[in-house]
Symmetry: C2
Subunit: 410 residues, 2 copies
């Protein structure tokens, strides 16, 4: 048994990541929305690569790609996603897929390991058409009706149309084969500064926070911006602004130590310079791994929305459109990553929660799951400036492969 | 001389307005953006109607329609516009065009009046592609370059493309024929509650307020909404909200008696639920007929923007993209409308400024100009609920025709 068989080939990992970066390249990152041409090209690229790891590739009816092994013994599922946010980074997603591919390339041909790594690329983790549609489909949590209604959040293109254009209509959606896998392992960039600030190499994820999302609508009175006196106005845009400021003023004293909240979108209707907005819509989200804290914040959100509406004479609707489910990562998986980091990252690892959502939280509902993080330069993500040192990428790959080996050998 | 020759035919006016309402009908109003199919149909409708008033019709290279008279004597120019705001009312624009057409139909064939009413329909008064492009073209204030750069604010369609699709490429733009007209008269719905609240029938416009418009941009740091701690954020959307609220808090004690201000649009970039906005843009406007007050408010706006940026760690750009030019209406025109209202509206008129911008303010830069208002139900405009009682429409038409007769006879 030669030692180099059991560890990742750093140059190969970097070459693969750069090959994927070239598909849909945008500035230093990529623009690869779900079912865009470069996303579909990336899925095809992966299908061509899987045989290198002794895996037979298949794309299912929702755009998930699976690499299946015929090797006897335990199977570990590993992967991430290949689409990106709009005009975003090159590693968010592909890193986890290439680590999984690399682990399969190292481990599957090795007769000394009685088991195999199987690779998954989950479709639409970035939520262009929904949230976690690919992994949720796999665990049996997506109905045909949800797909019927799903539309691209940027272009409003129906998901059915995108699936048809991708040639995926009438293809079955693959469901979890219960008992086949000992669990699921996913690697990702941290997308924060915890590792970088502490000069650490590996984050061992303990839990993934839940995401609660709200659509808050203020209904005012659309009117002429020149002839409607200030006192006669019901300005829905002003109501929205008042709510954002009130949240910023009152949430900090009510939140938990790691709670975050974001107003990602404000839409004023009709949005013309000479018209008082008659309607304003906010997309607001809260993330935490503590459901009790979020329940408390949600009550506060309702209060603040009522106050903002009252101050501007506008009606209000607060709709929770997504309910968070914090996910706990499996202790055995955490230990395997930690031990792998002792060998390949000088033990420079830390246990930490994930503030970002990941497919691992969905997989965790049907099998043990684990995640590891590598550092993000400046903590930047969901932006084309997102990056990670090559040395950190290679180190992470070696830890990942070793963690897979340990999980399959235990 | 039969008396009914000298007054408007109310049924004919209402029938014409309803014919235009049927083109691009939306709920109780119309959706007739500049160069949309129903807008172009409306221009063709007008071209077919002009001969009824002894006018020869012509459409020019920017989509203005003119009805020109061969009759000897003085010429009075009258009109308004035929496009609408998106999903807006049926009278904003068409009322003034049909009043002008009706005045021409009554006056031009009358041998006892030594002069004629000529009709204009100005293109894009509602500012889909710019602001007052049609009337500004007529007074010589629009360059070819401005047209090259103009795009539909909703669809981003280039104006050149829209002109070509409308068959207007290579057609000359008609310029004001200096000395031809004794002035310009325009009628419009009030778009406010002044007349309705005081049970009056006619507003005699004294001045049209200027519109100052600003593009305010906050530059923060686009980042992941889950992994970026609250203290590490530079949220450009929050900066925008803070500015809106600060304006609402501080402008009332610094403004004039009739100042109005509006944030018509807020755009967060990239506008996704899980991304902290790295950039936020506000379209903000101030209207007043007092330039000094606006200068004071503009200085305050800069201060408040700097504070909002400082509070959120965001950069700021405040760009004035439109500079208001308040316009004074001609005293002789005001008197003619007032006297006409004595005959046809029981003297129920009031002199008042216009808070809305109108083509009359552009025409006023090259000839005497006047405007009259009819009441708006509930003051609603720029919304499909916009409406005026039929009786008020007919009364306004009679006052308008009489004012034209007086101006041509003086």
């Amino acid at each position: 048994m030669k030692d180099h068989h059991h560890t990742a080939d750093g140059a190969r990992v970097l070459a693969d990541l750069n090959a994927l970066r070239a598909l849909g390249a945008y500035k230093t990152g990529v623009h690869k929305p779900t079912f865009s041409e470069p996303h579909l090209q990336s899925l095809q690229w992966l299908l061509r690569k899987l045989p290198e790891a002794g895996l037979s590739g298949e794309i299912d009816g929702i755009g998930n790609v699976f690499g299946t092994s015929a090797k006897a013994g335990r199977k570990l599922l590993a992967g991430s996603h290949l689409e990106s946010q709009n005009f975003a980074g090159w590693l968010d997603g592909p890193l986890g897929v290439i680590y999984a591919l690399e682990a399969a390339r190292v481990i599957n041909p090795d007769p000394d390991i009685k088991g195999a790594v199987e690779v998954a690329s989950w479709c639409d983790e970035e939520g262009h058409f929904g949230h976690f549609l690919g992994s949720r489909s796999y665990v049996g949590d997506v109905t045909e009706q949800e797909i019927d209604l799903a539309r691209d959040r940027t272009s409003s293109r129906p998901m059915r149309e995108a699936l048809e254009a991708a040639g995926l209509t009438n293809r079955p959606r693959r469901a979890a084969d219960h008992g086949r896998h000992i669990g699921y392992l996913e690697a990702h960039i941290e997308q924060g500064r915890t590792l970088e600030d502490a000069s650490l190499s590996i984050g061992v994820v303990t839990s993934i926070v839940g995401i609660w999302q709200y659509r808050i609508t203020f209904i005012g009175e659309q009117n002429h911006a020149g002839t409607t006196r200030m006192n006669d106005r019901k300005d829905a845009g002003l109501a929205a602004a008042r709510l954002c400021v009130a949240i910023d003023d009152y949430f900090p004293s009510a939140c938990g130590p790691r709670t975050v909240w974001t107003t990602g979108r404000i839409t004023l209707d009709p949005g013309a310079p000479s018209i008082i907005p008659g309607r304003a819509e906010l997309l607001f989200q809260i993330r935490d791994d503590n459901t009790r804290i979020v329940e408390h914040l949600e009550a506060l959100l309702h209060e603040l929305a009522i106050e903002a509406g009252a101050a501007t004479d506008c009606g209000i609707e607060v709709a929770r459109i997504r309910t968070g489910k914090p996910a706990v990562m499996d202790e055995k998986f955490q230990r395997a990553i930690e031990e792998a980091a002792l060998t390949f990252a000088e033990g420079k690892s830390i246990r930490m929660p994930s503030g970002a959502g990941h497919d691992a939280q969905v997989l965790a509902t049907v099998m043990p799951a684990g995640m590891l993080f590598v550092p993000s330069i400046d903590g930047i993500s969901h932006h084309w400036n997102e990056n990670t040192d090559d040395a950190d990428i290679v180190r992470g790959a070696k830890v990942f492969v070793e963690a897979c080996r340990r999980l399959l050998s235990n």
